[in-house]
Symmetry: C2
Amino acid sequence: MSATIKDVAELAQCSIKTVSRVINAEPHVTEATRNRVLAAIQTLDYAPNFSARRLVQRRAYMICVLLHEAGFYQSTILSKVLDIGYQQDYDILIQSYYPSHTKSKEKLEALVRERRVDGLVITPPCDVDPFLSDLLAQSGVPYVQITPLNRTPEVPYVAGDDYQGAYLMTERLILMGHWRIAFLSGPRNHRASIDRLYGYKAALEVYRVPARDDLVLESLYNFDGGHNAARIAMGLAEPPTAIFGGSDEAALGALFALQEMGVKVPEEVSVCGFDDLPQAQQVWPGLSTVAHPVDEIVERAIRMLISILTKREPESRQVVLPSRLVMRGSTAAPPPDLN
Amino acid sequence: MSATIKDVAELAQCSIKTVSRVINAEPHVTEATRNRVLAAIQTLDYAPNFSARRLVQRRAYMICVLLHEAGFYQSTILSKVLDIGYQQDYDILIQSYYPSHTKSKEKLEALVRERRVDGLVITPPCDVDPFLSDLLAQSGVPYVQITPLNRTPEVPYVAGDDYQGAYLMTERLILMGHWRIAFLSGPRNHRASIDRLYGYKAALEVYRVPARDDLVLESLYNFDGGHNAARIAMGLAEPPTAIFGGSDEAALGALFALQEMGVKVPEEVSVCGFDDLPQAQQVWPGLSTVAHPVDEIVERAIRMLISILTKREPESRQVVLPSRLVMRGSTAAPPPDLN
DNA sequence: TTGTATGCGTTATCAG
DNA sequence: CTGATAACGCATACAA
């Protein structure tokens, strides 16, 4: 077996407490003894046993990131989580959570009740699940939400500015000359999709562009949803000159549908999305979209959680970060003959 | 604080060992006492402390999946990992690992040396990293590789059949009438890319299609690599009628380049890839590709590792699973005037 | 500056 | 079938 703190103490001719001091960089150790201990650690190839520390400190040193499903948007979150995973003593456990799935609930409950995790980062739309809410409330585990459906002062969260992003993109389209802009709206249990819809509507109003109900198409925020919605939109008596997908996945579906129908993008119809998924730039002719600072959102959420766990009050418990436009080839002025 | 096994024992009027027996479903407990214990557990809302178990059993109950970077291929692995994450007592720690990154090494070393993980699943191209090899050898942690560069009897692995997949796709193109097939080859430190190249060459040979060196383009297995390679290929005196990307990412880059150049796919040039990434079907006109059974590969790798960890010998330590073709809209017969 | 003793919450041993 | 008691490896009051 491998060496323990006791072995080191023996070899270094001191008590385990002194070794502990050296390991944890505590003060009150002479340079001489410190060096003896360090040498002993070297020769014994000692490394502290993390499980023991976990037990005695009553801390799992693990935080759990809850993901609803492994979609594209989740992937971008994931990659950022992984990049942060280096830091600190904390390990990040990425757990997918499907409310309808019994095993999923059991696992999560075990994680929390058996104190395998110290806290959670919750991504949408997990937060609307009653089972999860109950579990969180009963157990009292700290958690931080990313883009929660309901923003209350009690719940710490980090979010992107969906309203502003949608407003900016709609405004941009209007300034390009579009005034028949379809919006592919997402599910209503998703705060982001609500805000995005409002941002769209607000821009129309400010610029006095007539809002048409038939141009707001509710669909799932995925490829098929966008695909279907685009076909419906193009079948209207007065079809849109621009399609704004509430998510990139939906926008990609719309783009596919248009190409399928032989409609030229962006010459005949412009398309844009929201999220700036990696594939937005890999698809011809490049998808214009709204980007959230996902890196920063995830990082701040994790930092906030760790601050809370270590009783350091975080600087802020409610953070909303601005989005920005990323214009690519899928948007242009509408065909002149339409004006 | 929450209840411990001691509290339960007290309430159930028995020893902690008996409680332990009930929890772990060990034999030698009367129905009566078992029920008393169960009741006590209920009323105290008791759940065993996982850290304590970890310590005493000298096991982290955690396995680490090492990912080189958060690319698309990695994402597909990830989503499968997450789906499996429900099972068992084991948690899955997904850790990204960049050989050049010091922090990355430190983290991994800590994970292994501090016994925070019981074993590793290694994905390419992590396996070619000398630091990692040394760490694995010195520490003796069990591990399973996915599609390793070097297959030796000592190292347990699970892989897809890259050779066969590339052979099948090339064969299919030939049977469609193509005989100028470009192949976008990947890095040589990646076993998969070598096998894929050989599969391509083998099919050419079997069907007596002249192999042209200028049609094998070495590039990175990513979007830009494919993008550049496709432009080079199309600039040849005798350009190909089909471009076979050694990876979907490269193929997507090639597809983009062709569309950019105004080349019609698949009417003028066919394109196909390898991996069957989710976006292969979301890109117009749908990317024909070779699919590995990633779900099964990942699942079997994890199962294999757990078998090894629990000293149950796995059924097999070397597994190669067959690939299959997924034909979509990006491939068709070559233009007739070329024959 | 250093050391001793106790506890963290389990599982495991071995005797009853 | 049951139970005292000893690990497991570290941290931490508290004493020296």
